[in-house]
Amino acid sequence: MPDTSKIVSVKDAVAAIRSGDRIMVGSFGNAGYPENLVETMTASDLKDLTIISNDLGSPGIGLGKFLANGQIKALIGNYYNWNPDVARAYNAGEIDVCLVPQGSFAEAIRAAGVGIAAFFTPTAAGTVLGKDKETRDFNGRPHVLEHAIHADVALIKAYKADELGNLVYYKTARNFNPLMAMAATLTIAEVDDIVPVGSLDPECVVTPHLFVNMIIKKGEK
């Protein structure tokens, strides 16, 4: 193991997060959701969080706990129909919600990770979700300008990490995780297993270690 290990306790990892932070959380439904990190955060005093995620789980379940706990200031994501608490809180003026079409959302997170400031996509041009966005024709078709979506912290769920922080994922639990791993100032990966350096096939590493700042092992305190 290298002398600067990234492996930390979930408590130390969460101690690096501040109230008011913009937090990306990987997952699609409950697939690829960093359970320990979220559990620990929802048991903390952290508040005024902006949660950037595909959805917000179900009422009181998964990411839904953040909302049930009143820890959320704003949401950036694309699909909250699985958790009707979101529409309720939004209508009551308790939280802000910014809806971005799922493909544009994924691409905007990637853009932040790879240093692209903004991009033109045909998705949503002319619709309610595109109406406040700069619109321009390319090849005779309207496109909207979508800006990169950054975060202070990304909470990632991976299947395995090696001791350097190289990550691989598990089936459709991959989803937004590799994108968010690139797009935050601090990336914390929760993994099922930590394996020795050299155990992962270099051709199959999905997230190279340079994107990962901290690793916690699922189920450990």
């Binding site: 697939a31 694309n78 079409p101 994924a106 998705t123 309610v128």
Partner: protein, 226 residues
């Protein structure tokens, strides 16, 4: 109002007709299936040339997982546990929507609240304060090579869903290629909504009454398989 075709039969008919549309093509087809009737299309596909893409990051989605074999980490975009097919692959959401936006998905099958005579589709929200979500709907209708709308011909209140102009927020403009209901197979041909097949239960006069959008009947109109 008495239904002309009962719900279960209607849904299966629509799904089967769409599957046969894809199976009738003499080449590999990559398709994406939305929730509801679109998902049922998979049950009727018998072809090793048709591959199902799920926008949450999978190419080659297999049948629903059997009870007891479900893995919450292997799901389709409707959060249902599914299985693998030989030659499947996994990727992240940006790669997945890259396939869709880049025009590499041959067809998306989606449900809709309304489709209008210009091919506009409204399927993402009914503004009633209870919904807050778009998912991949806008990406799919603007990105897939063909958009196949699978929907009941009329709402539960009898109101036509093929309308002159959508009243609900639009998902995509002029994107519908096919609209397949239990009462007919419609295709937009050079922008004109054209009836290609009609259900055996009704005639053209009755279908016209049940459809708000004006349409033309194809010269070689056929009876739809029941």
């Amino acid at each position: 109002m008495k239904e002309i075709v009962p719900g279960d039969i209607a849904r299966a008919r629509i799904a089967r007709r769409i599957a046969s549309e894809f199976m009738g093509r003499d080449r590999t087809m990559i398709i994406n299936l939305g929730v509801g009737i679109p998902t049922m299309v998979a049950n009727f596909i018998r072809s090793d040339r048709i591959f199902i893409q799920a926008e949450n990051g999978m190419m080659g989605v297999g049948p629903k997982a059997a009870e007891g074999e479900a893995d919450s980490r292997l799901i389709n975009a409707g959060r249902e546990p599914v299985t693998e097919t030989p030659g499947c692959s996994y990727f992240d959401s940006a790669a997945s929507f890259g396939m869709i936006r880049g025009g590499h998905v041959d067809a998306t099958v989606i449900g809709a609240f309304e489709v209008d005579q210009t091919g506009n589709i409204a399927n993402w929200i009914i503004p009633n304060g209870r919904q807050l979500g778009v998912g991949g709907a806008m990406d799919l209708v603007s990105g897939a090579k063909q958009v196949v709308v699978a929907m009941r011909h009329n709402g539960s209140d009898g109101r036509p869903k093929l309308v002159k102009a959508c009243s609900l927020p639009i998902t995509g403009f002029h994107e519908a290629d096919f609209v397949i209901t239990e009462l007919g197979v419609f295709r937009f041909i050079e922008g004109v909504l054209t009836l290609q097949e009609i259900a055996p239960e009704i005639d053209l006069t009755r279908l016209t009454e049940l459809t708000e959008a004006p349409f033309v009947a194809a010269a070689d109109i056929k009876v739809m398989d029941s």
